[in-house]
């Protein structure tokens, strides 16, 4: 079968096995994505990593005791030893001067070492050759079956119920544990719930993602979601969604190429979502920020053009004189290309008129020029009166502020300063555009 046929087979989900794999990885990704959010916000992401590594000996022990591979027993073993790992981390930081990161390194590696010892023991005793326990290291989504999906769905339902009933409290706890304590919440119990959620999340993720890369599915969807929103609810939903997409993508690729482990592909697809988010997210995205910077720079150029033309008008008492671009560029140190584009934008916005290759202010343009000039000079008055800055320090600050002051701040400035007529350099502060409108 070629890739196309396999793809059709995967996404049409006519095959029951495929349905289980897809359902399983959606559940896994969604649970890990959502509940990883709490660890991420509590700055406990790497604790999730340590707990994931700490589950390995539990898996091994469960297999040794049971003698066969039954997922729910293995997962129970994993959860118990994951919890033991969490307690060990706590014990180390509490009973020694060692810091959290050292405790994490110790627990993570020592528990993992024990897990490896047990796994190699199982392998060499013969029983383990077919155990497939090594799939827990890097994950193998293709192995998810009907029973696994049921187990996952039940666990997921329980966790969502707990989440919904404790949401407000968990939110406070995540945001500010100190405040939660002072507000009379049982922080010990809440932290227990959060740690249990983390342990359970890690445990259910084992099969698809594996021990080694578990941290990624806890952190990356949450980190990506964080780029889009400041709202915890939205973040949880987004993170769960990103987790699901990554889970399905990982499962799809390991369906195409069965010899690849799933975990790394889940991580790589999650990281692509993360990179996309960090570039294009509506609020914090790098691209969005660059665009906003560009807009700001454009606005500054426009403001400066309007200001210098207005000032020239003030000096000559003729607002509608025509100026060639060369003359304008001498009034301010504009770059040639920057000025050309700025003039063009101003013309199209109706603030300037172009006539025979020369420019002049329209009525709108005069008003805008007056406003920029007024903001500049008002700010200078403010700095002089309230900050007692010397006159030679006023201009540079005001140069920045004139572009930022909003109408609301402007009004407050005017009232606070009592509508001053002259700026500290004894230049007139223009108000006439307001009188007109």
């Amino acid at each position: 079968m070629d890739i196309w046929d396999l793809t059709v087979r995967f996404f049409s989900m006519t095959d029951a096995n495929v349905r289980y794999v897809v359902a399983g990885s959606v559940l896994l990704g969604g649970i890990a994505g959502a509940f990883g959010t709490f660890a991420f916000l509590q700055r406990r992401s790497l604790i999730g990593d340590a707990i994931a590594h700490a589950t390995l000996p539990g898996v091994g022990f469960a297999f040794l005791i049971l003698g066969r591979k039954e997922l729910h027993w293995l997962l129970l073993g994993a959860a118990i030893s994951g919890w033991a790992g969490a307690l060990a981390i706590d014990a180390i930081t509490r009973h020694s001067r060692l810091k959290l990161d050292a405790a994490l390194g110790i627990v993570l590696s020592a528990f993992f070492g024990l897990g490896i010892v047990i796994l190699t023991y199982i392998q060499k005793t013969g029983a383990g050759a077919q155990s497939g326990l090594d799939k827990f290291l890097f994950g193998q989504a293709a192995a998810i079956g009907r029973q696994d999906v049921i187990v996952l769905a039940v666990i997921g339902a329980i966790m969502v119920t707990v989440l919904l009933s404790l949401f407000a409290k968990l939110k406070i706890m995540t945001f500010d544990a100190g405040f939660a304590a002072s507000a009379g919440l049982n922080t010990g119990l809440l932290q227990f719930v959060l740690t249990t959620m983390l342990v359970v999340t890690v445990t259910v993720g084992l099969q698809a993602v594996g021990v080694v890369l578990m941290a990624a599915i806890l952190i990356i969807p949450a980190a990506a979601a964080r780029q889009w929103t400041d709202n915890l609810k939205i973040m949880l939903v987004l993170s769960a969604l990103f987790g699901m997409i990554s889970g399905v993508t990982g499962a799809y690729i390991s369906f195409l190429k069965p010899h690849f482990p799933t975990g790394p592909w889940i991580v790589v697809s999650a990281s692509l979502i993360f990179i996309f988010s960090i570039m294009f997210a509506t609020k914090r995205g790098i691209v969005v920020r660059l665009v906003r910077q560009l807009k700001n720079r454009r606005k500054m150029t426009e403001d400066h053009v309007l200001k210098v033309l207005f000032k020239a008008g003030m000096d000559s008492r003729n607002w509608r004189a025509l100026y060639p671009p060369l003359h304008i560029s001498q009034l301010w140190s504009f770059g040639a290309a920057e000025l050309k584009r700025g003039l063009k934008r101003l013309v199209s916005r109706g603030e300037l008129e172009k006539e025979g290759g020369m420019y002049r202010l329209t009525e709108n343009g005069v008003s805008s020029g007056a406003r920029v000039t007024r903001l500049h000079r008002l700010w200078e008055v403010y700095l002089e009166r309230h900050l007692e800055l010397p006159p030679d320090h006023l201009h540079r600050d005001a140069e920045e502020m004139e572009h930022i002051i909003t109408p609301e701040v402007e009004k407050r400035l005017e009232e606070m300063l009592g509508h001053p007529v002259l700026d500290p350099h004894h230049q007139e502060i223009p108000y006439f555009d307001k009188a007109k409108s």
């Binding site: 991420f40 700055r43 406990r44 992401s45 790497l46 990593d49 590594h53 014990a91 180390i92 009973h95 020694s96 001067r97 060692l98 810091k99 990161d101 050292a102 994490l104 390194g105 110790i106 993570l108 590696s109 020592a110 528990f111 993992f112 070492g113 024990l114 897990g115 490896i116 010892v117 796994l119 190699t120 023991y121 060499k124 090594d134 290291l137 890097f138 080694v212 890369l213 941290a215 990624a216 806890l218 952190i219 990356i220 949450a222 980190a223 964080r226 780029q227 010899h259 690849f260 482990p261 975990g263 790394p264 592909w265 991580v267 790589v268 990281s271 993360f274 960090i278 914090r284 790098i286």
Partner: protein, 298 residues
């Protein structure tokens, strides 16, 4: 020498080299950076294999060193521009790099002499058969010599630059005000960690490198309040873990590297318990003394 002895010495060297440089990671709260680097070197190793189709040491060192530094840089970069906490940034960077490494290994399985299990817990038991031959003389396992050189390099690095490493670990701000760049030394230390990790990688694997980087230093930190002594003790704990790991593993027929981590964990746990018992008994006996001895000022 018998193959067993070669394995033991290789294990001891791997543990010692890691323990020495790892002690500084523990002091700088950088144990998890060590964890990150030990994962992140994998794509560097894989690429070196694929490009040179050999297991020459130099390309591997370059590839891995570059990945180690990349981890440190990217973590910085993400925590600044992505406005993420540092631990999350590190978690993202190393898991992604490690995933790429695993995919490369699975995809180029024919060309890379590394398998997924080896990546995690090494194959120290096979080191005696990968030997270092000069002319007609068989000098013993390659891993032994590589680790030996790295161990000696670490000793020289730390003794030459002890004061820089100490001051930037204790008080980076003071270091900068007296003209010792904390950033420069952070990246130098990161590079040396990457070098050590690569050398130990084949023998003990990515995650158990973390055991040898973190556990001996942390154990020594519990025992002593003197930095030089801490470094020496750290190496001793490393050696003890290596010996305990080797014999434990031979006895149970399990992974040597895995058992080294377990042995280290047991030594650490015992030390932690003993330390607490000692501190408690001391605290009991000094409470009464302290009441008399109020420290004079001037």
């Amino acid at each position: 020498m018998s193959p067993e002895l070669w394995v033991i010495f290789t294990a001891i060297l791997a543990a010692s080299a890691c323990a020495l440089i790892g002690a500084f990671l523990v002091l700088r709260q950088g144990a998890m950076l060590g964890d990150g680097i030990s994962h992140a070197v994998l794509p560097g190793l894989a690429l070196a294999f694929i490009i040179t189709s050999s297991r020459d040491v130099l390309p591997m060192l370059i590839g891995a060193g570059a990945m180690g530094l990349l981890t440190a840089f990217l973590t910085e970069f993400l925590s600044r521009t992505g406005r993420l906490y540092r631990d999350a940034s590190l978690g993202i960077v190393f898991t992604v790099l490690f995933s790429i490494g695993v995919i490369l290994i699975a995809g180029f399985a024919g060309q890379i002499d590394l398998d997924q299990e080896c990546v995690l817990y090494g194959e120290i038991a096979y080191t005696p058969w990968d030997t270092f031959v000069v002319g007609n003389t068989n000098l013993g396992p390659r891993a032994f010599w590589v680790l030996g050189v790295v161990f000696i390099f670490n000793i020289i690095f730390i003794s030459l630059f002890f004061k820089q490493l100490k001051i930037t670990s204790f008080d980076p701000a003071l270091a900068r005000t007296v003209g010792i760049s904390d950033r420069l030394w952070h990246y130098l230390l990161t590079s040396v960690v990457a070098l050590t990790v690569v050398a130990a990688f084949e023998s003990v694997g990515a995650i158990l490198v973390v055991a040898m980087l973190t556990i001996p230093g942390a154990t020594a930190f519990l025992i002593t309040r003197n930095l030089q002594l801490m470094l020496i003790l750290s190496v001793l704990v490393g050696v003890a873990s290596a010996l305990g790991g080797y014999y434990g593993a031979t006895l149970t027929n399990t992974s040597i590297a895995g058992f080294m981590a377990v042995a280290g964990g047991v030594i650490f746990a015992l030390t932690l318990i003993i330390r607490n018992v000692i501190d408690k008994t001391q605290a009991l006996s000094t409470v009464s003394l302290q009441k008399q001895a109020i420290t004079p000022i001037n």
